[in-house]
Amino acid sequence: MIQYLLLLLPIISALIICLSSPRAAKWIAFIGSIATFIAAAIFAVQFPHWMTGGFWPDLRTAPILGQFGVDLQIGVDSVSLMLVLLTVFLTPLAIAGSFSAITTHMREYYAWFMILLASMLLAFMSRDMIFFYVGYEFTLIPMFFLISIWGGPMRGPAAIKFFIFTFLGSVFTLAAVIFVAVRHFDSVGTWTFAIADLVKFSSTQLSDKEQFWVFVGLMTGFAIKTPFFPTHAWLPLAHDQAPTGGSVILAGILLKLGTYGVFRFALPMAPMGAVECTTFFAILGIIAILYMSLVCWVQTDIKKLIAYSSVSHMGFVVLGLFALNPIGLQGAVMYMVNHGLSTGALFLCIGMIYERYHTKDMDQLGGLVSKMPVWSFFMIIFTLSSVGLPGLNGFVGEFLCLMGAFVAEHDQPAGYPGVLHPWYAVVAALGLILGAMYLLIMLGKIVWGTLREPHGDAHAEHATMELPTDLNFREIAVLAPIAVACLAIGLYPKPLLDAVEPCVKEVLVNYPAVIDAYNAKRGLVNPTAPVQKVEASQ
């Protein structure tokens, strides 16, 4: 039952916040999110399938449109659970990071935050497509409010663009999901939206062409959410304008909804569609990596820079996903978690600077290490994690994504042939250099160098009274857990990798055969393909 508690706790706290006084709101939200974290931790401890794959708990309950197979079915596998843990880990920190930044409409802010938490958890924990969609889509509303009320000067357009763009994409996702459900009904005779059933049906019963369109439909939504290269236009604005807490959640978790969607739905549901599009999406991923790195290079706004870098980083995830082999997928999942941690933390760091100086302009800030050494320490750690320094978490995902893409060849001896070519990875790996370039330039501008502060002593003038020059205890307490997590994952990623592995295999279960067939169609015969498959293709 704890899974329901996990969903209810944020909602209950939101209700309590609505009834409480504005001053108490932040503490209630914090306690509520910590309670959710504890619940999730208990849930994770109870979770029996860490190493074996599979969903838990496996209950079908609470029909909403029961006769159409829409049930509120809650269950996680280890990948979902990792993202759930990421969510409940980041949310209290984002809330605590907002304590001093949010001074108006506090009740609303924290209430929306808790609702956001609930809807993210629903999206990650749902085993029903429609409820996944409910959570996935409903995150827009709280985020819309968070940006619109507490955002920067351009918050209006940012929020609207964010909302419409993602909404536009997700209606196609919904249409594709419904299409699969309808086809399932047509051929099986019962309605269901259970992910497992639909995945099984779709991947085996739909024709090539249908799978292709299902895949395209699903990807339209996920590509915008992730965001993939040409559909990223909402992101810089939204990240830039959102309040710190919002940016943290947006970059840390909401973007993962897109890649989680690809992982959980698009890839397993439509393998034949996926292999057709693999090259296309992999190239989009590479473009995102390189293009966005170059764009980051010329940014002067730190927050925008990190926002653009998110697109670039998600490019690695895309590449890892479309490597279609266990390394790439494991890398992609790791990258999701790690990007959530490091980019979320970077946004927190920038928020702390913004609270003190009221600017995010790199030309106005500089040499902060001499004034804020503690802050600089964290900033450096998280930047290096973003750069992908081995030993920190960013490296694990990045390296595996690239390696996955590198080995995604048709004659891969590991039993997982791919559609790509090593050159994809090599070109994408240029992103390692460019990534180091823009992030270190950023560090060089704001952390190192001689002290530059916005005209006059803006620090004393604007800063909230309670904030000291360097970070206070609360802020350190917000950043330190993330830093510890970064280091821990970087040095000992094995448990996570082990946990992801069975899920990854589950996703890829249909792929080797499909890819062999697809490659054979292109004239690339896999010499290591199992014999019976070769016979079948003949």
Partner: protein, 723 residues
């Protein structure tokens, strides 16, 4: 266990050829070797704490020294336990990026644990890394004392990070862990070069080092992927067994690319020809850092990498030839620049690049022992040189211009510095019977003995470079330490936290009235002591060379010979090749001596005896349009930085701006906002229809209905025609 470790009976033969690499023994009982890594790690944590707690005092320095000394002691323990020629051991510490799908066999798993692979090569490197590291840390406790309470903890934190990463790199049991150390030393280098973070040049240099290294790292990363794809594993122990088998080791384009990829990584880290540009700039860091990281240890990581994967390189002679030629050309190229620099720390930096070139040449022509031995000797004499340079900087408020310092050996307190510097210079210029000469000769002899890939030419290039090396090293010594006493203080002290206020209070003596008010402060016991110890070390490093020269077995040779680095290295038959009636040994001895002494003599003439003539020569060169480009280009480092800027950074920067513009106005503006405007535009298109006039509506409704009817009739006609 001892029996396993001390199985060597090859001490008797100097040139024992190791034909097979012994399979490593998993040795969990040696898990204490993990402390070689843990001690610096603890030091990282403790110095970090000192940083956070703003400890005022030299505590962090001593913590680091103790930790490094502890590591060194452990390395010694391991060395004595294991002997020169023990079989390699693998000690598994904990799982890292280690996972499998299917089974644990090749290609079905990626085994990249945090585990240690110790063979003689590892130990060879570990010895001087931890040893020199300890010494330099001691030196730094005094050198950095003006930063106590400010950046002192940060500095030692960086040093600890560096030693940790370097030990990881050297002890790694797989390529991925090596990559971790590889990037880790890059990080330490970044942090320490940018130590004086208020100096824009220092920040830029740190950035440049990291980014240029990243280019090399990319090569290493691709190399790792290729190795995994082709051999199904990235563990050295497994790989060595594969590589020994030529059948499995070579074949195919992919496999032949691997050494080139690794080479790129090595060239990046070890500052070889296309990627050397970061190293001179790295001299912005504190001098102990230059000594430790950018002269003695980190830059030899590339040499280590190639030595470590030598069985693979041995399968690809062309790749080895490339290594040799790149090394040789780098040696020459860097020497030309070194001759024309006025900043003597930069001169040493270019000399480092040049010497690293020799090491690569040695690897390329097949004498891994020569390369490794040169690494060892170079580590000592170059550390010595940098530390003396540091002492001078420390004493003269950061003065590095060799035109503004003179006759230091007569300045009180700088005696030890001057004479140890002389030793360093002699060793660097391969003065006869110095360790530097012994190690360099090993390489040149091998180059001249093998008539492959034009290696003989390489040998001659090496000899010419030797002459140039002698010239520029003694150019420094004669200018700075010899001659009449004369000095101008530097612009300021080490930039520290309170920048100029502090600097002015402490040394209110920039150039203008330096002569009257400036008093150089001489190094004290820690610096002098370390200089002397390292000088002794530099002498000691000559011992294996002598033994080698006399055909005796020696520990260095045995260690290299019993490691993977020796497998496949070419044993030249020195006596076969004849030039000028001499065999290569004699040739190198003769011409090497001539080059060394000649270079010193020229330097003596221009920079000690007739200092004015140097200026005259320069003026004469500049006066002739046809040749003036030579000194100008040399002084400007052949404009390589500018070239890179124009060819790579500039275009990328412009591309960034163009793409940003595109993103803003095309992707976002035209595509997204444009598409976003379509609905409203369409709405505007239909707006005139809602004009508010009753008849208008009626007409539109009727017209719309008529259109619908027309549509049906059309569909009907179409379907009628179809059927």
């Amino acid at each position: 266990m001892m029996s396993l470790l001390c199985t060597s009976d090859t001490h008797s033969s100097a040139h024992a050829v190791v034909t097979a690499i012994v399979n490593a023994i998993p040795s969990p009982e040696l898990s204490w070797t993990g402390w070689i890594l843990s001690l610096p790690a603890i030091s990282v944590v403790l110095t970090g704490l000192c940083c956070a707690l703003r400890v005022k005092g030299k505590l962090p320095g001593w913590i680091t020294v103790l930790a490094l000394a502890g590591s060194f002691a452990l390395v010694l323990k391991l060395y004595f336990l294991r002997g020169d020629a023990g079989a390699p051991v693998v000690v598994h510490l904990w799982d890292w990026m280690n996972f499998s799908w299917g089974d644990q066999s090749k290609w079905h798993s990626l085994q990249a644990d945090v585990s240690v692979y110790v063979d003689s090569l590892t130990l060879f490197w570990l010895l001087f890394v931890t040893g020199l590291g300890t010494l330099i840390a001691i030196y730094a406790t005094e050198y950095m004392e003006s930063d106590v309470g400010k950046g002192y903890s940060r500095f030692f934190n960086g040093v600890s990070v560096f030693i940790l990463a370097m030990c990881t790199l050297v002890m790694a049991d797989n390529l991925l862990l090596l990559y971790l150390g590889w990037e880790g030393v890059g990080l330490a280098s970044y942090l320490l070069i940018g130590y004086y973070y208020k100096k824009p040049a220092a920040v830029a240099a740190g950035k440049k080092a990291f980014i240029v290294n990243r280019i090399g790292d990319l090569g290493l990363a691709v190399g790792i992927w290729l190795i995994w794809v082709n051999y199904g594993s990235i563990e050295f122990n497994t790989l060595f067994q594969v590589w020994q088998d030529t059948e499995r080791g070579v074949g195919g384009f992919d496999k032949s690319l691997i050494p080139y990829c690794l080479m790129l990584g090595a060239f990046g880290k070890s500052a070889q020809l296309p990627l050397y540009v970061w190293l001179p700039d790295a001299m912005e860091g504190p001098t102990p850092v230059s000594a430790l990281i950018h002269a003695a240890t980190m830059v030899t990581a590339g040499v280590y990498l190639i030595a470590r994967t030598y069985p693979l390189f041995a399968l690809h002679p062309d790749a080895l030839a490339t290594v040799a030629w790149v090394g040789g050309l780098t040696a020459l190229f860097a020497a030309t620049i070194g001759m024309a620099q006025y900043d003597f720390k930069r001169v040493f930096a270019y000399s480092t690049i040049s010497q690293l070139g020799y090491m690569f040449m040695g690897l390329g022509v097949g004498t891994t022992f020569g390369a490794a031995y040169h690494t060892l000797t170079h580590a000592f004499f170059k550390a010595l040189l940098f530390l003396t340079a540091g002492a001078i900087m420390h004493g003269f408020a950061g003065q590095l211009d060799l035109r503004k310092l003179s006759g230091l050996r007569k300045v009180p307190g700088f005696k030890i510095v001057s004479w140890t510097m002389l030793i360093g210079c002699l060793w660097l210029s391969a003065f006869p019977f110095s360790a530097g000469m012994l190690s360099k000769d090993l390489i040149l002899v091998q180059a001249l003995s093998i008539n492959n890939h034009g290696f003989v030419w390489l040998g001659w290039i090496g000899l010419i470079t030797a002459a140039m090396t002698a010239y520029y090293s003694f150019r420094v010594w004669f200018r700075v330490c010899a001659g009449p006493v004369f000095y101008v203080a530097g612009e300021d002290n080490h930039d520290d936290h309170d920048a100029h206020d502090h600097a002015h209070a402490a040394h209110p003596a920039p150039a203008a009235h330096a002569k009257h008010e400036f008093h150089p402060h001489a190094p004290r016991w820690a610096m002098n002591g370390v200089l002397l110890i390292i000088m002794l070390g530099a002498f000691a490093t000559g011992i294996p060379g002598y033994m080698e020269l006399r055909g005796q077995s020696n520990w260095a040779q045995v260690m290299i010979a019993h490691s993977s680095a020796f497998a496949g290295s070419v044993q030249a038959h020195v006596t076969d090749a004849v030039n000028f009636g001499m065999n290569p040994h004699q040739l190198v001895e003769v011409f090497g001596t001539i080059a060394s002494l000649g270079g010193i003599a020229i330097a003596m003439y221009f920079h000690l005896l007739q200092r004015k003539s140097a200026d005259k020569l320069r003026a004469w060169l500049l006066a002739h349009n046809s040749i003036r480009w030579i000194p100008v280009a040399m002084e400007n480092k052949w404009y390589v930085d500018e070239l890179y800027h124009a060819c790579i950074r500039g275009p990328a920067w412009i591309a960034g701006h163009i793409l940003h513009f595109t993103d803003k106005h095309v992707v976002d503006g035209l595509m997204v906002n444009g598409v976003g405007r379509i609905p409203s535009a369409l709405g505007g298109l239909f707006q005139p229809l809602y004009n508010g006039v009753l008849q208008g509506y009626a007409t539109t409704m009727a017209g719309g209905s008529a259109l619908v009817v027309a549509w049906i009739v059309y569909r009907w006609l179409v379907s009628g025609a179809a059927s």
